[in-house]
Symmetry: C2
Subunit: 388 residues, 2 copies
């Protein structure tokens, strides 16, 4: 296996981008990543695009060729990677493998989703395609509804109050204030969260990641190339793994554990040859507050049923034991589905480079990003390390 390095990152702000199309967002993110690197367009040999719903929302498939055409690099290998909300994470994993194989020296991992101008299906219908259409989606349950089942079960099983779980949203908003790319740069209080409307009982509106548009891009390169461009702040991808779980909740033994997280984190740590306690900073996929809590447990930072304590006790803050979602997380940075996995890794890179401004965690050297598709049907874990 060849070593793999991050040599450039770039992303659009997450917002309702009425003025930009799907292709515009991709081109903008890729341009920013290229500008951030010391590479030029002709160095790019392959492109992996994480996207979930361009077919149903824009009537557009074949994003690979669409992107290479509009970015001005036709010829280059390109494809779309889909695993619901983990599409960005699997695209990154693929880009990683492409460089690790030695076949490619420079690969672009891109994620994009445009959700605010959906015209053919509405976004709720598009998102539930992450679960089983024939046995789950057809009932009319929404994606929020499925997560509400997890939430209710968690509260009952571990006797935890909603106000302790909902704190995750307050946490995310606090840090998004200082992230120029974040969708909601505004602090909120726990009262605001708990008084917001119920979307699917018990989930409140402000416990849900918003709908938004965005694209994010990361250039990965081989050891040969990274030596050639002599970049400061070299960051290596030391671990990369993807795992699946049984697609739908009704077939699982345990509603409050995502097995795919446990498998993916084990594999990624093994590849990185580190333990979870060695990780300095985490980006996790808190599409709903309850998921943030559960991920802390499944990743190995807390015992089952006790993840909420880390939040309540300030341990996921900038100066806490394990800083989490330092750029606003899914709730406040935003969650343009297929792009989220890439945004998470860019947020890690920003921290590992020491470029996170007011949100900078001291001495962040190893970062871990977890990206989740469906209700945990797919999970990716990627681990990055600053090596100089």
């Amino acid at each position: 296996m060849e070593k793999v390095y991050v040599c450039g990152v770039g992303a659009t702000p997450i917002s309702e981008h009425w003025e930009f199309s799907l292709r515009d967002l991709m081109v903008e993110a890729a341009s920013r990543a290229l500008n951030d690197s010391k590479l030029s367009k002709k160095d790019i040999e392959a492109v992996y695009i994480g996207n979930m719903s361009s077919g149903v929302l824009q009537g557009q498939e074949h994003l690979g060729s669409l992107f290479t055409t509009w970015f001005g690099i036709p010829g280059v290998s390109a494809q779309k990677c889909e695993a619901a909300c983990a599409s960005g994470g699997v695209a990154f994993h693929q880009a990683f493998l492409a460089v690790a194989s030695g076949v490619y020296d420079c690969v672009l991992a891109l994620g994009v989703e445009k959700m605010s101008d959906a015209n053919t299906y509405d976004v709720t219908s598009a998102l539930i395609m992450a679960d089983d259409q024939d046995y789950v989606a057809f009932t009319g349950v929404s994606f929020v509804g499925l997560n509400a089942l997890i939430y209710r079960r968690y509260m009952e099983k571990f006797n935890v109050k909603q106000e302790d779980i909902a704190l995750f949203a307050v946490h995310d908003h606090k840090y998004a204030v200082n992230n120029p790319l974040a969708q909601y740069r505004k602090a909120i209080t726990i009262d605001t969260v708990l008084n917001s409307p119920v979307v699917a009982d018990p989930i409140r509106l402000l416990e849900c990641a918003p709908i938004g548009d965005g694209a994010a891009a990361i250039l990965l390169c081989s050891e040969d190339l990274v030596k050639k461009i002599e970049k400061d702040n070299v960051i290596e991808v030391v671990g990369s793994a993807a795992a699946t779980d049984i697609l739908s909740l009704h077939n699982r033994k345990d509603l409050v554990t995502l097995n795919a997280t446990k498998i993916a984190v084990r594999k990624a740590l093994q590849m990185a040859n580190i333990e979870i306690k060695d990780v300095d900073i985490v980006e996790l996929h808190d599409a709903f507050t309850i998921l943030g809590v559960i991920h802390l447990e499944d990743l190995g930072f807390a015992k089952k049923g006790e993840g909420w304590k880390l939040v309540k006790e300030g341990e996921i803050e900038k100066d806490g034991k394990i800083p989490v979602n330092m750029m606003g997380g899914l709730k406040a940075r935003g969650h343009p589905v297929g792009a989220t996995g890439i945004y998470e890794i860019i947020d890690l890179v920003t921290q590992l480079r020491g470029e996170a401004g007011k949100n900078q965690v001291d001495d962040a050297e190893i970062g871990l990003a977890q990206n989740v598709g469906g209700v945990g049907g797919t999970v990716t874990v990627n681990i990055l390390k600053r090596i100089r």
Copy 2:
């Protein structure tokens, strides 16, 4: 780069499978591939699923977890790969890279498409998503219409008659007769083709690949694993490449050359360290008769404007200079879009193993499969070699 071997193949017949769902087809193909190998389910470490339109046709995304769930291997890494009609080819390329990287020892490349029971969009609308929605598809042009432009231009530029191009369909049907998986196992004459209805002038109905359902699966494994299972007929993937071109015809300089084919075949041959003349047998993506002719040229078997001569002079027959589409090609074996690239490679494997019965090409040792997405926006070329 680690070496990569084919250790099992399997596919469903291509048909209108009203009795099977998308997941059933995937599970059936994967089961057949597993039975063909000496491996068991627990050996599979990652899955790449080529599929174009499950979102718009079945309201189902997240095929990775859907498949691992229903095949009984939850946990395993899995994702969907999409590049329009080249989705199968890019899934195979990814599976190849995953094993080549050394990260995975056993990977399943799967392709699936279910087109005959489309309920949300009709298939014509789904297929045109392979081209540019905002600048091409919105005009109402169909995918056949775009290929008709290529066809007309070719006939005019090289002064070739339709009856010489349409022969490709006769060729495919002749060989499909002996393929138990083929959708149309019936020989046809050139008169039948030329008297069939016009779909988009000049393309006749029997010059078009049909719509159908099917799934196909290939198990790829590392050198360590292939040694362990001591399989006869070991087949190595010696070359694998993907390339893109400008997405839409109106932006290209030349309508009758697919640049992505030229790039992909050059790269794949280079990796395999062979020349095109070393290839013994070819599967190419003749979604329309004219494409078969053009591919022969772009792959390097004929000069530009002269591909049709190979067909007319019998050079692509079983005993010809370069046997092509020996199991019926897209026209008669069938073209379940995202599965086609995998079917093509399976057809090569059948030949390289000497298991093609009446269609067997003598001493076939090196095979090449070309898979095309859109009007050449993406092309993959994979080269397989029997090494014992």
